[in-house]
């Protein structure tokens, strides 16, 4: 898979989370059945044909003649922190799980500010400090959730640990992209992409916790 393909798959998954998801949630208020059918269809097709959601939205944007009016990667990053659909919220009310919700939302929100702050060095450095803090809080929250998983349920614990390790891996990539950017400020796109990956990984943690604990 080329770098371009993997980015396309990322964009597709982000589009499902931050574009289609919120739209379908609004549709649910009018027609639950239609919304749920569409959601299931998009998820199934995108799993079968990775990148489908990206091609779909690109097609819609072309039809509207605005596909070349903005940068999709940057836009997805901005949306990544502003949209939060029910599908990405953990329903369990215990403080540990609600704290995880809060930490995940906070990190995504800070990451989504990158496009508007990246060109103001002082502000951007403050944002990076906040990101460091938010990453720590998120993973501390994940550790607390893992601690609540019953001892007998080693499978779930392991899945959550693996998800956490993956998140740390993408955090390191993000940090490396920042270093590259500070060496060459033309590398802003790489920062946006790696920030998008981090948002996606955050959503993956939420999905995994929902799957294993709810």
């Amino acid at each position: 898979m080329t770098m371009g393909d993997s980015n396309k798959n990322l964009y597709a998954k982000m589009i499902v989370d931050v574009v289609l998801g919120p739209v379908l949630e609004r549709l649910e208020k009018k027609d639950v059945s239609a919304a749920q059918t569409l959601r299931a269809a998009f998820t199934k097709v995108d799993n079968t044909l990775p990148g489908f959601a990206y091609d779909y939205v690109k097609g819609v944007l072309k039809k509207a003649e605005i596909h070349d009016k903005f940068d999709l990667c940057e836009t997805l990053l901005r949306l990544g922190g502003s949209q939060d659909c029910e599908e990405l919220r953990i329903s369990r009310q215990e403080p540990t799980f609600q704290e995880l919700n809060k930490c995940a939302t906070a990190l995504k929100k800070i990451l989504s500010r990158i496009p508007e702050q990246i060109y103001d060095r002082k502000q951007f450095l403050e944002t990076i400090k906040e990101i460091a803090s938010a990453i720590k809080r998120l993973l501390d929250a994940v550790n607390r959730v893992i601690a609540e998983v019953p001892a007998a349920d080693n499978g779930s614990k392991q899945i959550l640990e693996d998800r956490k390790k993956e998140f740390v891996r993408y955090s390191k990539k993000f940090s490396n992209m920042l270093k590259e950017f500070f060496r060459d400020t033309n590398q802003n796109q790489s920062v946006f992409i790696s920030a998008n990956y981090l948002i996606y990984q955050t959503n993956l943690i939420l999905r995994t916790v929902k799957q294993e604990c709810c």
Partner: protein, 391 residues
């Protein structure tokens, strides 16, 4: 900064045109362009005149205030720290790099080092035009003592360029520090995910929200409350039993690290010196420094990087002195240079004096290690007997 990465100083490249003229003159008088100080290509040089150094200025003085700067210089002249007039013997080269600023007196075929100031010790640089005299003032030092390096430039353009380049230097240092902070944070959370003691926020309130940095308003990192901020970052922990066991665990972990690198005799000496450092009975600053020096010699050049790990176990009242001592030896503290990183919290937030485990815990751990090593030693027996062991 020793482990930091240097980001491209390309924007400063424009000055090289100005510098090349200077290099030509250096060539014409036979100067070497490759002295031991110029190995690194990422530095810039400027022609200045060295006026003098005014020592023991007030730490809180604001040198972005023109009146303050001129007042200090006038006082410096009265005290003969700054000559009333300067001549060609004051011609100097100011060299700026990621590590330091360096001032060298130019004397025909020789260059003599006047002063070298690490970047992290620079508090501020300012330019004052006093009736056509272009004064560049550099405030540097530590929270206890600051000095003012006074230079003259031949033009406002040069003075302003130097100020701008130093500001850029600060920004690069701070950028590096922030990225390092992110990496360190990720490294710590990664460690906590692999089973090492996880210190959650109930027992150790490390917060990155308390960070504030004044490093880039007018090239002035805030030295004046660095000491207080450092102290503040050290007094956060609570006193519950789980926190004590975590602290003891940290201490053991550090001592285990030493055990892998020190001999039995060295460990015994370490124990004695640490007891001396943590002795709360009053003593002079000179005596304390002597002990620090002994510890430094014990660790030696190859192990001096481990000294920073000793910080959490230093008696609270001696901590600031220890920190200054380390910085003077060029030993990087966790996330720490003075001007750019000093506001970041350290990894650990309590000193031995705060810990209920106290010195007796260090003693028992050290005794245990020494005993084990002595037992190993006696089991091995005379090493020479192994030399004839058949293969």
């Amino acid at each position: 900064m020793e482990n930091g990465e240097w980001f491209n100083m390309d924007p400063m490249g424009g000055r090289r045109g100005q510098q090349s003229l200077y290099n030509e003159s250096r060539n014409s008088t036979g100067y070497s362009l490759h002295s031991e100080y110029h190995k690194d290509a990422d530095h810039s040089e400027y022609q200045v005149q060295f006026a003098g150094i005014i020592k023991e200025i007030q730490v809180h003085v604001d040198i972005t205030n023109r009146t303050e700067v001129l007042r200090m210089i006038d006082q410096g002249k009265m005290k003969k720290m700054i000559p009333a007039k300067i001549g060609t013997d004051s011609n100097s080269i100011l060299s700026l790099s990621r590590y330091n600023i360096k001032l060298m007196q130019v004397d025909h075929s020789t260059e003599n080092l006047i002063i070298r100031v690490p970047i992290h010790e620079i508090a501020a640089v300012c330019y004052v035009n006093d009736d056509g005299i272009h004064i560049l003032a550099v405030k540097y030092g530590n929270p206890e003592q600051c000095s003012l390096l006074v230079l003259y430039c031949d033009s406002p353009a040069r003075a302003e360029r130097i100020c701008s380049d130093v500001a850029q230097c600060f920004q690069l240092v701070y950028t590096d520090a922030v990225v390092q902070l992110l990496e360190d944070t990720i490294g710590r959370v990664e460690t906590s995910s692999t089973g090492s003691p996880t210190i959650n926020e109930n027992s150790r309130k490390i917060s990155l929200e308390g960070l504030d940095n004044h490093g880039f308003s007018q090239s002035q990192p805030n030295l004046s409350d660095r000491h207080n901020r450092d102290k503040r970052s050290r007094s956060l922990a609570t006193s519950d039993a789980s926190n004590q066991s975590i602290q003891a665990e940290l201490l053991r972990s550090y001592l285990e690290q030493l055990r892998s690198k020190f001999t039995v005799d060295e460990l015994a000496k370490f124990s004695t010196l640490l007891k001396q450092i943590n002795d709360p009975s009053p003593r002079s600053h000179k005596d304390l420094l002597a002990v620090f020096q002994e510890v430094f010699q014990l660790y030696g050049n190859e192990r001096k990087n481990l000294l920073a790990g000793l910080c959490p176990f230093i008696y609270e009242k001696h901590y600031a002195n220890f920190l200054d001592f380390l910085k003077k030896q060029g030993i990087a503290i966790d996330n720490g240079t003075l001007s750019s990183r000093h506001s970041f919290p350290r990894n650990y937030t309590r000193s031995v004096s705060d810990m209920n485990t106290d010195q007796s815990d260090i003693d028992s751990v050290l005794e245990g290690i020494s005993t084990q090593l002595a037992q190993i030693d006696s089991n091995i027996g005379d090493v020479n007997t192994y030399l004839n062991y058949p293969s």
